[in-house]
């Protein structure tokens, strides 16, 4: 079984978000980039576990991004993975990214594609489902547990207001979230080994983006907290009713 893991760099979770050029561009100055937590902690680690268990023969990583994505890809390789590919293009919008990955993956014999539930920067949560369609594979979203017996996967996943367990044959795309595995820390051996593992760069396919970001906006600032005495919950309830109008 050959696994492809989709990974992307995102701003560190503590980043204070700022924009430049009249709010038309994300200001990356001083921002530390990390591997998208869903991709690292869940998709990648589960793929590595499947390889360690002898279920998978190869784990390949793919990212759509410019050269500045490479440090993050190297970090992913330090966790494991046999090789990585960077498709040299701006990761501008979901269809474009999914189509680039699909063009690259087609005909390479991947049985299983793992991606994160969503990227914590653009929060689309769409690449996995798009890939399933473009690669003509089955799709299971929001997995919290992934087991495999032979060719059949058993996946527990989040649904509206709960969770369900499904079985599904390969080929399959799964988007991963918490529960799928436990985060790992790269060790020295992994970091050294990552240096010799190939990081291929391939040119993008000719694909037209279907959306463009026109501008950004920050949420309105809160006007300040109103403190209520701990022994006056009647007042809080009254305010929630008459002022905030939420109950």
């Amino acid at each position: 079984m050959k696994i492809l893991v989709c990974i992307c760099p995102v701003p560190d979770t503590t980043t204070k978000i700022a924009f430049s050029d009249n709010n038309t561009k994300f200001n990356a100055q001083g921002v530390t980039f990390i591997l998208n937590p869903y991709d690292e902690w869940y998709a990648l680690v589960r793929a590595l576990e499947l390889k360690e268990a002898g279920t998978a023969t190869a784990v390949h990583l793919v990212t759509v991004g410019k050269a500045d994505a490479e440090p993050v890809i190297r970090k992913a390789l330090a966790l494991g993975g046999d090789e990585a590919v960077r498709i040299d293009a701006d990761s501008s919008e979901p269809y474009f990214v999914a189509a680039q990955i699909a063009e690259y993956a087609k005909g390479q014999g991947y049985d299983l594609v793992l991606c994160g539930k969503e990227s914590i920067d653009y929060n689309n949560g769409s690449i996995g489902a798009m890939l399933a369609e473009l690669l003509d594979m089955n799709y299971l979203g929001f997995a919290a547990k992934i087991d495999v017996a032979g060719n059949v996967f058993t996946v527990t996943r989040e649904i509206d207001g709960g969770e369900e367990t499904d079985t599904c044959p390969l080929p399959l795309v799964i988007s991963c979230q918490k529960g799928v595995s436990e985060a790992r820390i790269p060790n020295m051996r992994g970091i050294m080994a990552a240096r010799t593992r190939p990081l291929k760069v391939v040119p993008p396919a000719g694909i037209e983006p279907l959306t463009t970001i026109v501008s950004y906006e920050m949420p309105p600032a809160k006007s300040g907290v109103k403190m209520i005495a701990a022994d006056n919950m009647d007042e809080l309830v009254a305010l929630l009713h008459s002022e905030a109008k939420v109950i």
Binding site: T13, I17, G125, A129, A132, Y139, M218, V237, A244, V246
Partner: protein, 324 residues
């Protein structure tokens, strides 16, 4: 030409967020001079489907097949594609929930249609087709222009409250020829959350953090939630410690929610937690530490021990309800 809306129901009762999606679609239909067709699947009654007209649907396409009673992304995608083709749909609306996020990106990929996932505003047609969406896990918004001919949107639940009007939708059945591969995903077991309201579309949410001390105290919080009719949520360490199921975890690496009211109990308000909840319209923070960062993101704050305050609040809500 039409605006197509994927609607969801529980045992034949359409979900409130689906009514929101229809109303959202109706707004777009009005601005673009077309009408809304809802697509319903599985076992739901004619009356309920016709009543979708009260929120702006002109027509409902209905596909019945016992296998559609449970969500299945392959099969649902197949039905939506058939409906899109039949209606010549130019705009397709789903919800930004686990169902909509599994189906709409597939439609977008198949139809080569631009997708905006997590819309929180109506499209601005004066500048193209520009839709406001959440980015950076609630820390900011982006305005995204869809440039393709067909447009696909997932709407954040609880963005526009549905307003009931007049109208009846006509119901037509939509026959879809399924292949074996459409049902290769097979359901084995379902576990629903204990609360009656799914967190993702709850209007009121009561949430607990490490300040709750342990799972044995959660009944205090659940009593309040029950009295309010609210869903329950938690911070990440709470889910990590298995005090609560992980689907209750909100924040940057959990769910993003935007209820009308978020009550945070014993949660410090770390930036990663705020990212998932700062879209809430009103935030109440109960914390014993006056320096807790959550207070600066709150509308109302109560300083003190949650174990004492929360039961008092529950009583106050009870009293309020008796008088209203």
């Amino acid at each position: 030409m039409s605006v197509l809306v994927l609607v969801e129901h529980t045992n034949g009762v359409f979900k409130k967020k689906s009514l929101e999606a229809i109303q959202y679609g109706a707004h777009i239909a009005k601005e673009t001079g077309t009408s809304v067709t809802a697509v319903a699947m599985g076992n739901c009654g004619n009356d309920a489907m016709q009543a979708l007209g009260q929120y702006g649907a002109t027509k409902v396409l209905h596909t019945t097949d016992a296998r559609l009673d449970n969500f299945n992304s392959n099969a649902y995608t197949r039905v939506m594609l058939a409906a899109a083709q039949k209606e010549g749909a130019k705009v397709i609306v789903g919800l930004h929930d686990t169902t909509g996020r599994a189906v709409t990106p597939r439609l977008a990929a198949r139809l080569k249609a631009g997708l905006v996932a997590g819309a929180v505003g109506y499209p601005d047609l004066s500048k193209g087709f520009v839709v406001k969406k959440n980015v950076f896990s609630g820390k900011a918004f982006a305005f995204v222009n869809i440039t393709s001919d067909v447009k696909v949107i997932t709407l954040m639940p609880n963005t526009f409250a549905p307003v009931k009007g007049e109208g009846t939708a006509t119901v037509e059945s939509l026959d879809v020829a399924f292949g074996a591969a459409d049902f290769s995903v097979q359901l084995k077991a379902v576990e629903k959350a204990t609360g009656s309201v799914p967190l993702s579309d709850a209007e009121l949410v009561v949430s607990g953090g490490r300040g709750m001390k342990g799972p044995e105290n959660w009944h205090i919080l659940e009593d309040l939630a029950k009295e309010l009719g609210a869903a329950t949520a938690c911070s990440r360490p709470v889910a990590d410690s298995h005090w609560r199921p992980h689907f209750e975890h909100v924040g940057q690496t959990g769910g993003t929610i935007r209820p009308n009211l978020y009550i945070a109990i014993g949660i410090s308000g770390a930036i990663q937690h705020l990212a998932g909840v700062n879209g809430s319209k009103t935030i109440v923070v109960i914390n014993k530490d006056p320096e807790a960062p959550f207070f600066s993101a709150a509308n109302y704050g109560v300083l003190g021990d949650a174990m004492e305050i929360v039961p008092r609040l529950t009583e106050a809500v009870k009293k309020f309800k008796a008088n209203h």
